[in-house]
């Protein structure tokens, strides 16, 4: 029975992959792909810097403690609602940036002669991990409010620090895009 189930799962996986393949369109004539490219261009460094400036304070408890001292429930409610929106925005921007980096990397790496499968797998792991983090972060904000991810990000950072890092000498000057 187990063999039957495993074989059926293999067949199902193949059929689903083929359905996805049949629905995919070629990059050259695909409007979605060109939209992706425009998204990549719409995320300049300044946009990321803005998000970076926001994120320094976004999950901070200092503002929340200050608001609490005022003792005004309406103000607390407004603060939490706004923080929630900003936190979601930050995670959405980060998630879009991960997708853009991944798209750009795959578009270029498929042409590279000396592509390293090991390196590709490591990068795929990182992409998946960071995308998952963003999704979990969004879920945590929805469930636990905008201040909840502070603990989560601390945990994430500890795990992220344990991930393999690119060698210093491999950080060649950025190519002009």
């Amino acid at each position: 029975m187990l063999i039957l189930v495993l074989c059926m799962l293999a067949g199902l996986a193949l059929v689903l992959a083929l359905v996805a393949f049949s629905r995919s369109r070629n990059t050259s004539d695909c409007p979605a792909a060109s939209q992706d490219k425009s998204t990549t261009r719409q995320l300049p460094r300044s946009s990321f810097a803005n998000a970076s400036a926001i994120q320094e304070a976004i999950f901070s408890r200092e503002d929340w403690e200050f608001i609490k001292q005022e003792g005004c429930p309406a103000l607390e409610e407004l603060f939490l609602a706004e923080r929630k929106a900003v936190a979601c925005y930050w995670l959405t921007v980060t998630s879009s940036r991960i997708s853009a980096i991944r798209h750009n990397h795959l578009q270029n790496s498929r042409l590279a002669r000396n592509l390293s499968p090991g390196q590709e797998l490591r990068l795929l792991g990182r992409f998946l991990y960071l995308s998952l983090v963003c999704r979990v972060g969004l879920l945590v904000i929805q469930l636990g409010g905008p201040l909840a991810p502070a603990n989560l990000t601390a945990h994430i950072q500890r795990i992220a620090d344990g991930l393999p890092v690119a060698r210093e000498n491999s950080f060649a000057p950025l190519r002009e895009n």
Binding site: L4, G11, L14, A20, F21, T27, Q107, R113, V165
Partner: protein, 252 residues
């Protein structure tokens, strides 16, 4: 009568596919695929008289021999898809080659595990089970190619896409049918006798549609200078490192 109709329909479709391939000069582009279609047509012509006038044992021998030959040529079709789809993408080709080698290494390892039973005795006693296992290996091989094509967004022309879809769905349906046949045995055999040729007829229609006329080759990007990948990977690492810094800031 129904079986004869399916048999005739299949043979006619195979002949039309071969004829259109010859007319559209598709044979040199996909030689192994057309060899596969020709071999299946030849098998059908060989099998039907044995089915009609031969004994059950003779039919079983001819049928399973033809099936295993078709699997062998079908595996070469998988490699042809890989070769044609990824010829302009050396990096992706390397990824797919490594993954395919991994899949086939696993298959060989499995054969060694079952070596004590003897593959030939297995072929004699449970040919459906053996074919199912070979189809599962093929399914994983096709999964690897489809995965690489999807992840790296490799453009495919209509002809190649049709070959891949038709053969992939055929392998997928074979895995389903042979799994049920191996598990339920004779109670499923009557259904399978009609289901197998009928489903194959459907995949022939997919091939006929996709290969009716030669489709233009998709536009491929120019090749980057050699040695570019390490810099690209470093750029990507750097971009991801910035995101990690972002998480660190959020922590404060």
């Amino acid at each position: 009568m129904l079986q004869l109709s399916i048999w005739c329909g299949g043979a006619i479709l195979e002949m039309v596919i071969l004829l259109r391939g010859f007319q559209g000069k598709l044979l040199p582009r996909f030689p192994i695929f057309y060899l596969y279609v020709f071999s299946v047509l030849f098998d059908s012509i060989l099998i039907y008289p044995v089915y009609k006038w031969g004994t059950h044992q003779q039919y079983a021998i001819v049928y399973w021999t033809c099936q295993f030959l078709a699997i062998l040529i079908g595996s070469l079709v998988v490699f042809e898809i890989y070769r044609v789809a990824l010829r302009y993408y050396p990096g992706t080709s390397r990824m797919a080659r490594n993954a395919l080698l991994f899949v086939f290494a696993l298959a060989i390892a499995k054969i060694f595990v079952y070596r004590s039973n003897g593959t030939l005795s297995w072929l004699r006693n449970a040919p459906a089970e053996l074919e199912r296992n070979l189809r599962v290996v093929q399914a994983f091989g096709i999964l690897v190619i489809v995965g690489v094509l999807l992840i790296y967004a490799i453009p495919c022309g209509r002809n190649l896409k049709g070959i891949l879809l038709g053969y992939g769905l055929f392998v997928g349906s074979s895995v389903f049918q042979l799994s049920l046949l191996s598990h339920f045995g004779d109670s499923f055999r009557a259904t399978w006798t009609f289901l197998q040729p009928f489903s194959y007829l459907c995949f022939l229609v997919i091939w006929l549609y996709a290969l009716w006329s030669p489709a233009p080759e998709p536009v491929h990007q120019p090749e980057p200078p050699p040695g570019d990948y390490s810099r690209l990977a470093a750029d990507t690492h750097q971009e991801l490192a910035k995101l990690r810094v972002g998480f660190r800031k959020a922590e404060r």
